[in-house]
Structure formats: structure tokens, C-alpha cells
């Protein structure tokens, strides 16, 4: 019988071991991504957000925290309407950032 003896996975992110290859490549191609201040304007204005939870802020952060599945889930809902780029207070070209990310595989290589 089941006594409930199991190990729940830890939700903590270990920055020592987290894999951020894709993020590193991204900031090479789109250095402005570094200047994100997580203000959330992009998410707030996002056309896809209401039904998909898309958020460029979370994408940029998620990549640094190794949450690639979540990142891909969000990216695959973006419609490239470009509103996020219009509102970004730091002038990040979020639209191209998304396109660039879609071209990178998990290892951060541009797919050919």
C-alpha cells in the first residue's frame, strides 16, 4: 500500500548548474537583452498573453534559469505583432529577439 513516501522535486533553481547556453548565445546576437529590467510592459501589452501567458520578460529570465520548456511554450504562441518592441522602455528589439530565439536550438546553435 502507498504511504505517500516519495520525493517531490525541488523547485529551487541552482545557478551553479543551470544550463544557460541559449541565453549566452542570445545575448551575443541581441546584446540589448541584457538590459531587461523585468518591468513587464511587454507581457502587459502582449496580444498573445491573454490566452497563452506569453511574456518576453519571462522568456529572458527563464532562459537564465534553465526553464527552457516553459520558454519554448511561450515562444510558440507569439504572433510577432511587435507591440512589445514598441513599449519596451529599454528599447530592446524584442520582436527580433523572439525570432532569433526561434532559430536557436537548446544548445544555442543557429539551426541551418
Amino acid at each position: 500500500m502507498d504511504f505517500g513516501f516519495k520525493r517531490s522535486p525541488s523547485s529551487a533553481v541552482n545557478l551553479d548548474t543551470v544550463d544557460h547556453a541559449r541565453y549566452d548565445r542570445l545575448v551575443q546576437l541581441e546584446p540589448d537583452a541584457l538590459t531587461c529590467i523585468g518591468c513587464g510592459s511587454c507581457s502587459a501589452t502582449c496580444t498573445a498573453a491573454p490566452w497563452s501567458g506569453m511574456s518576453v520578460r519571462k522568456v529572458i529570465l527563464g532562459l537564465q534559469r534553465g526553464r527552457d520548456d516553459e520558454v519554448d511554450r511561450m515562444l510558440s504562441r507569439c504572433m510577432l505583432c511587435g507591440k512589445c518592441t514598441m513599449v519596451c522602455p529599454r528599447g530592446i528589439n524584442t520582436r527580433h529577439l523572439i525570432l532569433t530565439l526561434c532559430r536557436l536550438d537548446r544548445k544555442g546553435e543557429v539551426v541551418r
Binding site: 490566452w51 510558440s76 514598441m86 528599447g91 528589439n93 541551418r112
Partner: protein, 602 residues
Amino acid sequence: MRERFADAFNPFVIPFLIGMLFVLGYCLVAMVRVVAQLPKADRKRFLLSLITPKYIWMNIRDIFLNCLIHVKLWKRNKVLGYMHSSIAFGWFMLIVLGHLEVMLFLPERIHFFYYPIFFNFFVAETETTLEGALLMFLMDFFLLMVLSGIVLAIIKRFASRIVGMRRTTRLSLLDRVGLYALWSIFPLRLLAESFTAHISGGSFLTIPMNWIFRQFLGNDLNALPTWWAYSVALCVFMCVLPFTRYMHIPAEMLLIPMRNAGIRIRHPRKGFALLEVYSCPSCGVCIDACPMSVRKVNCQYTTVYLNRQLRRGNERRIEEISDKCLLCGKCTAVCQVGVQGPELRVAQRQRRKYALTPSYAGIDVQPMAASVAGAGGVLYFAGCMTRLTPSIRRATTSLLDKAGVRWTLMDEEEGLCCGRPLIMAGRPEQARELIDKNLEIIRASGCDTLLLSCPICYRVFKEEYPLEGVRVVHHSVFFQELIAAGRLRPARNEKEKFVWHDPCELGRGCGIYEQPRAALAAAGELVEAGRNRAESICCGGSLGSLTLGFEQRRAMTQNALDNLTVSDPSSIVTGCPLCLSTFGRYADRPVRDIAEILDSHC
């Protein structure tokens, strides 16, 4: 009238023959390749058009007007127009007349390629006969015409501003070779014919020169070398032609019938795209036209260089150039041969491979349902951008109410993107998914008019959505009609001075120029921008560019604003939310959407 040489041959014609055969052979092969690369349907369509009288006439006319007379260029710039047509048409006439002479006097020699070209060497004619004198005169006349063109060309090369071009293209090495060959051909012909004028006869140009030469050197010795030089110059020109911008001369002759047949770019590198690339004369008109060129560093991203890189197959540069462009379409508008810069670039963007492909199939459109069934029902799609410029939406809906239109919003709470941004980014399949979703909503609404206040949306709904029975209309047009029908009565205010900015997607994109102006004229005084209509300057905010940074766009916006304010309007009016917010950022005077203006006057 007598033939000078019994064997009707001289070795100096050999270079010319080589060049001639080479260039003809090359062009033939190239032409076959291009046609072969077309998709089956397109090829059929094209070949059919070649035997359809309507198209035949159209093609002949266009080729004559564009390739020889360069009417487009005349309209844009008289000097350049004269320069090009004098060379092209003059040369053409020299060839025609040459053949005419042969046909008239020595029909049996017509099968010699070189005879018409070097007629004056092989045949001694007297100008005493009428036709002789006439032909001689015409020959010299057209030669003079060409020479005048050449002189202009040389001036243009060294001081482009004199002929009214701010920037001109950087020439590649072969281009230079071709250029100098071209320049030398006609002076050499003049020399050659002058040296032989006392034997073969001549006219107002060659006779006097012949006389001058005879004062200080015996001609007969000089005659042959000059003919050699003339033939060699021709040879050089024809041999390098396929590898230089001069390839546009033959290419355009194929491009025109294909375009007339309605062929479009289907493959980024093959068929029609390839043909367009080769049709580019790298004249550089697009450099000045391109809104990006306000910053000199951006000149390298203009269409002329895209075509050059496409010829060279330099993938890195091709990607750079393709992604930088705003897709405003200005280059196409001014291009003499009508190379479609934006379409070419989008095609390149479509080549990309992606690790991640978005999908919208899962979206449930139920929450977005809107209903406005029945005749006269207007479904208003405000669009994503309009959410950042709510004034447009408010003004539009208020105008609809004032005109008593029965309407409903398609994206009241939330909505989907129209798909145009995805298409611009080179992801048409994904756009297709969105289009299907939006179609569901539109069809379900039962509307008979789809109203759009955003040209980006308007264009894609018009071009890509199968909306039989539903009228797709931009609000500027819709309101103009309401005014015409007297359902809207704007109070005209003389004191207000409006300038209309033609949004790229609305103007060049959909050819809508006059209705907005008419509507504005009803509200106040309408003034024009320095460059307007098909040549209006992109606001710099376009979604077309993937890589232009925010700061880089500023200069373009500023330049567009300077162009809009030449006649000092009291406010700048546009019909695009993107232009509105982009201009609004830097404008020194109010920027309004046409709906706002009309609403405040009704």
C-alpha cells in the same frame, strides 16, 4: 556604291564576332534556365501570354518605352532620362540603320553578322544619292546622340550631383571594365568612320573630322587600327556584359513580358527572383529613395546591394540586408525596371530554418466571437497596434455612431494578430493559421463589411483572406464615402492646415492615395508633403525591419517629419496607428489619425 573588298572580310571583325556569339549564347542559356525554373503553372501562363495578341502588344510597347526610351526615368529626372535613352535608343537606331543599309544595297550580305556594324568599312557609298545622303546623315545624327549621352554619363560618374543624384552605386571591378568599354565604343566608331569617310563617305560629323585629320596625318594608315579598336571595344563590352550590371539590358527584355504575364516571386533564388536580380541596372536610384539612407551607414542595405550580393551569393550580407529593410516599398516605386525589393527580401527571410515553430491551431476563438449579421453590418477590427493608440478606436467608433452605421468590434476584449507581421517576418505558414482563426470569427459574425483602421491589417485582409461577399475597407476610405454620401458632415475649418502622410501599406501597399485626401479636404485645408503618394517616406516605425534598433530609426522618423512639414501644416494626419505613435514621439506639432480629425469636425 561599291563593295571595297571582294572577300567581304577583314580579320578585325573577329573580336566582335567572338563577343557577339558569346553574349547571344549566354543570354539564350540564361533565358531558358529562368523559364525552366518557373513553377509549372507560371511557366504555362507565361508562354501562353507570349502568343496572346493583347500581351504581345503590351510587351512590345513596354519594352520600347522602358528599354529604349526610358520614359519612367524621363519622368523622374530629365537629364538621366536623356542620357539613358540617347545611348539606348541611339545605339538601337545605329544597329537598325546598319541593317537597313545592308538590306538596301547588299541584300546578299545580310547573313554576315558584322556587315551592318562595320558597313562603312566594307562599303564605299556616295552621299550623292538621296537615300545614301539620308542614311549617312541619320547615321551621324544617332552617333552624335549616343556620344552626347556618353558625355553625360562621364559627367554623372564624376559629379553625380550635377545630374541630380545625391548618391550613386559603388561599382565592382567588372562593372568598371564594362563601363569604360561602353564609353570607348562610340568615340572609336566615330574615329573609325571619320578615317574612312573620304573613301566610304560620311556626313556632317564624319566628313569634317576626316578633313581635319587629313591636314596632319594620312588616313589610310590609321583607318584599320581604329576599326580594330572599335571591334575590340565591342568585344570587351559584350564579353563582360553577363557579369556586370549591363546584364540588365537583356534581362529586362525578358522581365517585362513575364511581369505583364503576372508572374510573381515564388522562390528566393530561382526563376522570377533570379530574373529580377539580373534586371537590376545598379543605377542606385533606390539608394536615395530608401528611407534608411538618411544615415550613410545604411546605404549598404539598399536594394541595389541586395541584388549585387544575391548575384555573388554572399549569404551573411544577404541576411543582413534582408532583415534590415523596412519593407516600405519605396525602392520598387522608384525602380526603373521595377525590381521588387521588399518581395525579394521577404523571400530570403522565408528561406530560414527554425528550431521552434509557433502554432496557433489550439486557440479557442469562442471568447472572441462578435455578431453583426445582416445587410450594412460593419465589423470593425481595431487591431493590435490600435490598443496602444486608443484615440483611433474611440474616434472611429464615435464616427460610426454619428453616421448611424450598425457596427460591432471584432477585438473588443482580446483579439488575434492579422498575420501580416508574420508574413513580413517570412513565416507565411504560421500566418496562414492565424488567418484561418480570424476567418472563423469574421464568417461567424455575418458582417458584410470589414472595417480596418490599421493599414497593416487592411493589406493582409485584402490580399490573403478569402473573404468573398465581405467588403474589406480602410477607415479613411469608408469615412470618405460616408462624407460623399452626406452621412457625415464635417464642418470645414479654413484655419486648419493638414498634411496627409501616406502610410506605406496603405499607399504603395494598396494604392490608396486620393480618398483620405478628399476626406481631409472636407475638414480643412490640405497641403502636400515634399515627397508624397507613391514616394512618401516611411515613418521609420515599420514592422518590416527585423533588426533596425530603436535609436537607429529615430533619424528616419525625423527625416520623414521634415518632409511632411515643408508646407508648415498645423497638424500631421495619417491613417496608421504605427505611424501615429512613431511620429508622435518626435513631431513638433500634433499628429492625428484621420478618424480623430473627422470626429472632431463632425
